[in-house]
């Protein structure tokens, strides 16, 4: 199998059996992000304690890229500081997926990062 094929399998595995799927009871913050064009949607619930993302879960609906990427993202950020979460750049997500997605599907891949970073921002705004 080529790298591309292996990465595709990894993504499809996340899509078929997503990690951290569900909702956290009494989350610190929750947020829905949605792409009206294709109907992809994710909802994040976060537990934040002393600036650390101690738990994160998502539910969602959409294509393999948007949902697979969301699952991969939750694995990546659990236990990280909110600072670290905010510093993740889109390129990091795309290279982690490791597929040549093309511009329109990159939007699918980045939906969950946007949602997650918006959630953190919402949490911080609420704290002030």
């Amino acid at each position: 199998m080529s790298d591309e094929e292996i990465n595709m399998e990894i993504l499809l595995d996340h899509y078929r059996s997503p990690r951290n799927y569900g909702k956290i009871e009494k989350p610190s913050v929750e947020l829905v992000e949605y792409n009206p064009v294709c109907g992809d949607a994710v909802q994040f619930t976060l537990k934040i304690e002393n600036g650390i993302l101690t738990d994160v879960k998502f539910i969602g609906r959409g294509c393999s890229v948007s949902q697979g990427a969301a699952s991969m993202l939750t694995e990546r950020v659990k236990g990280k500081s909110t600072e670290e979460v905010m510093n993740i750049g889109p390129q990091e997500i795309l290279s982690n997926i490791g597929l040549n997605l093309g511009p329109s599907r990159e939007k699918c891949a980045l939906l969950s990062l946007n949602a997650l970073q918006k959630s953190v921002r919402k949490y911080r705004d609420g704290e002030k």
Partner: protein, 428 residues
């Protein structure tokens, strides 16, 4: 009879794409034959100059070519008067022109009747008049994707001033009975506009026979270049209509506080026109004519028949397709889904249990990506017809759309690839 393999040789892009590439996104845009590319090249290498203004030979030649293109394209759609054909950028601009100009004559409470199967370009330009108190009404479709004539009649009232309808739906492939609807619209005293973006490229269209007052279409969807489109209009109406854009060419005289409009069609063509585009489109019309539009239509009917046959044979689980099944009322457009994914918006909850379980459905994005891997270009999304997509109860569809260079083996490859997608994602 038209042989797609021979047709293909006239299109340089297929040499570049290589054997076995199935371009099935012709409803979005079409490929260009060598004769069109040559016509554009020739204009820029031997005639390039601005039209109308020059008293020198080169400009007169360019003007002459531009006039000839107008006459040729007008004839192609059955209009004996070249002045009835206005050049625009595309069907969208044509529809905006007519909506903007005719809209100025609408009063609060006046109604515009369209259908639920319209492309956004025949919805949004009318929505721009909602703040002025104009009402926008939608005729529904029946369960097979035909225009629901009962719903059409119900929505037609004494206040209906404009009926604007898609001739062939770019999602369902439905071919509407333009002649009948035109007659009903006219009996009601309404102006009848036809969006021919998907019909003019694919079947014989004759404005006199259809009896439409306006016809909008795009050059790039009929083998012509991008950036050129047309609006046909009935002369007596065009002459009474106020202009769309203001500027050079569209005026005869300009004073400090007012101007005198030029004659139709220049009145509606402000600024330097796309002369090369018009010449390229005229070459495309010649190319289509060399096969005959009847033959183009029957070729696509054959491909649709093959599509329906293979759909039956393949027995792909959960494959759903849309639009009329009888070939007479159906263009070469095939929209489908593997399973049904309902639309959603922010108000609707994502349900933890049911959400990810779109069941064994495969998202149209995944379908298109997977087909791309098999060298098949199809489109997925709402195809600029969001109200229709939601009316069908889905978030999006995948769409294959045919043209003269597509063959039955392209259709075979399509179904092979759809079967592959179903297997690949169904394992979920």
């Amino acid at each position: 009879m038209l042989t797609s393999d021979e047709v293909k040789q006239d299109f340089p892009i297929f040499e570049t794409l290589g054997d076995g590439y199935a371009y099935l996104d012709n409803a979005a845009t079409t490929q260009k034959p060598r004769s069109v590319l040559d016509a554009i090249h020739n204009f820029y290498t031997s005639q390039n100059s601005n039209v109308y203004r020059g008293i020198y030979r080169l400009s007169e030649d360019a003007t002459d070519s531009y006039h000839k293109a107008r006459r040729n394209i007008a004839e192609f759609i059955g209009s004996g008067n070249p002045d009835s054909l206005i050049f625009t950028r595309n069907a969208t601009e044509s529809l905006n022109l007519v909506a903007s100009s005719l809209g100025k004559g609408l009063r609060p409470g006046d109604e515009v009747l369209i259908s639920i199967m319209e492309h956004h370009s025949n919805i949004v330009p009318w929505q721009l008049w909602l703040p002025a108190g104009v009402k926008l009404k939608y005729a529904d479709i029946d369960s097979e994707g035909h225009l629901d004539m009962e719903s059409f009649q119900e929505n037609l009232t004494g206040r209906t001033k404009i009926v604007s309808l898609v001739h062939e739906s770019n999602l369902l492939g439905t071919i509407n009975n333009a002649m009948e609807i035109g007659r009903i619209a006219h009996d009601n005293g309404a102006v009848f506009i036809l969006d021919g973006a998907q019909s003019v490229p694919h079947m014989p269209v004759d404005v006199e026979r259809l009896g439409c007052d306006f016809l909008a279409f795009s050059g790039h969807k009929m083998l012509g270049p991008m950036g050129i489109g047309c609006l046909y209009g009935r002369m007596d109406i065009l002459e009474k209509m106020p202009p769309f854009l203001g500027g050079g060419e569209m005026i005869r005289e300009v004073y400090r506080d007012h101007s005198v409009w030029n004659d139709v069609p220049q009145k509606f063509e402000a600024g330097t026109p796309n002369v090369a585009g018009a010449i390229g489109l005229s070459a495309a019309v010649d190319y289509l004519r060399s096969y005959g539009m009847e033959n183009v239509r029957s070729h696509e009917k054959r491909l649709m028949k093959k599509t329906f046959d293979l759909e039956q044979e393949a027995g792909i689980p959960e494959l759903i397709s849309y639009g009329p099944r009888e070939l007479e009322n159906r263009g070469g457009i095939y929209s489908f889904n593997i399973g049904k994914i309902a639309p959603m918006d922010l108000e609707s909850q994502i349900l933890e249990e049911s959400s990810l379980k779109i069941g064994s459905a495969v998202h149209p994005h995944d379908v298109a990506s997977s087909l791309d891997g098999d060298k098949i270009a199809v489109r997925s999304g709402h195809h600029c017809a969001m109200p229709l997509t939601h009316r069908l109860g889905v978030v999006a569809t995948s769409r294959a759309s045919y043209y003269i260079y597509n063959s039955e083996s392209d259709v075979e490859n399509l179904f092979q690839a759809i079967a592959n997608v179903a297997v690949k994602y169904h394992e979920r």
